[in-house]
Symmetry: C2
Subunit: 143 residues, 2 copies
Amino acid sequence: MSTRLARNAERLCRARGARLTRQRRSVLEIVAASKRPLGAYEILDALRREQPGAAPATVYRALDFLLEQGLVHRLESLHSYIRCVHPGEPHPGQFLICRDCGLVEEIEDPAIQRSIGRAAEHSGFQASDEVIEIRGRCRGCAR
Amino acid sequence: MSTRLARNAERLCRARGARLTRQRRSVLEIVAASKRPLGAYEILDALRREQPGAAPATVYRALDFLLEQGLVHRLESLHSYIRCVHPGEPHPGQFLICRDCGLVEEIEDPAIQRSIGRAAEHSGFQASDEVIEIRGRCRGCAR
DNA sequence: CTGGGAATGTTATATTGTAACATCGAGATG
DNA sequence: CATCTCGATGTTACAATATAACATTCCCAG
Ligand SMILES: [Zn+2]
Ligand SMILES: [Zn+2]
Ligand SMILES: [Zn+2]
Ligand SMILES: [Zn+2]
């Protein structure tokens, strides 16, 4: 399967002294294999196919780890999780979420980042991270 | 109490043919009276002081109405609700959320709006609304 | 007044997320 | 190798958020 993904994640974790265990890797692969974001309980259903005893805490603990490592993002407005398209340095995600087909595109736009930085500064606010979720209709669905 | 608020909301709703009922106005006033965003069940607790029979659906229905009318915003990352500081035309909210004191400031920054518009356009995406929640430390707490 | 649609009451349940504590297991230490 | 230790996992129960479904009431147009 996604050996490429797994190896890259493994490398990143190793470099940080973090342990990408079998369970955590399973959750990462489940999330990464999905075209759409998955809810925690959808991940749980998938995980149970290889590990029938899994419980909610199992999934949430793995997700906590993967979020810390910047390997997945959480979509606040969908209560769901999606792989990061360019892990490496953890970063705030910016997403285009299609209401029609449910697809989500992760973008990385420095101009958005800059404008947010300036707005925060203008209010004397020290930003530490951001939730940027843009909802609408994707190119494919707009036709 | 906040007669000013209530009157303005009343005027806006009347102009649109929307009915700001007693219940809906109660919920609006509860939300507006709070310095911090309130969760639906916090609103419910408050509402029950004047209407002991209120149930979750009561609150969620009122919130749906107030959200549609642009009188309150939902904070996705906090699962909570806050009054709009400048109702009139419904608009996407932009928020600075302090992790330390819990205060939330609503801002309206055209530069953020523009950068998001351009990024969406660049992906052929028709944006219809946005979730912009900037988390960090407010001026007061930063000192 | 009366009919009809919107608003509310009421009950039950779905969905998402955590707490708490027992147990396991990989790697360090001697 | 033995054993110690701490992070990871197993397990159970529960908290917090949100919605479904259907009965009833209320407001207003006609
Ligand atoms: Zn990313
Ligand atoms: Zn689409
Ligand atoms: Zn607003
Ligand atoms: Zn603060």
